[in-house]
Amino acid sequence: MAILNNRKSKVSDEIPSSSMADIAFLLLIFFLVTTVFPRDKGLSIVLPEEQEEIEVSQRNILHLLIQPTGAVIVRYGENEGEQTVTAAEVEGIWRQGIAQNENLIAAVKTHPNAPYRYMVDVLDALKTAGSTRISLQILEE
């Protein structure tokens, strides 16, 4: 019987770790399924505060009138002359304008029935050209 005492105990003195990978994978699958990567991106703009109206000289305004067809009518402040362009061409027009007048402000006036994406296209062109002074308005019919 003394021989029996020398035999090792059958109960392991280590914490069983064979199921650790199973637990980790279970949690892993849970997080894989529930993860949603945030898609917080877009074109940022700062809205004016209420009753904040700034008088701007007409010659510092670049009017961009967006039509329901997506065409953009461009008019420089006081000038009567107009030209019709596409949204992509607005980028070049802004670059030209800001080179001549560094106080230029883009007044984007969108027709009420024009799809939202035409306004986004023009805003995109202005942002791409580095414009920061943008005013968004609705085109009075």
């Binding site: 650790m20 990978a21 892993l28 949603v36 074109l43 703009i45 967006i66 969108t110 009420p112 994406r117």
Partner: protein, 149 residues
Amino acid sequence: MAIRQGGLERKSKASQEIPSSSLADIAFLLLIFFMVTTVFRTDSDRDIDWPEAQATERIDEKKKNILNIWVERDGSIYMNDQPFTMEQVSDVVAPLYAASDRALVISIRGDREVPYRIIDQMQKELVSAGVVRVVFATDLEQRLQTQRR
């Protein structure tokens, strides 16, 4: 001697099994990655066609300070999975804006075909709620698509 060393019965020293001791480490590594990057969704995505823009940039604000306002093609408005009318927008947003210590950013998630009239009304509602920072949510436009257009 010949029997001991040259015996065919002796097992190879290289294990026949694929080592699996590092499996748990790999699993935990991935687990920690997903735990850190997970943001539980606050509102479910609505089915809209995103407008596209090249100048799309990330919003530099904490997730909790961003409020999504969804505008569907038919002009219906949703915030946090609840439908709202246009008139309710400023009443709902104003207290949230005050609670966020004026840090709230509104992300307008409009369908690309929605008439601009609705987006304009939305801006007026937000101005009356005192909101200043607004983002028009867009998808990044690829250069190739632009060239084709």
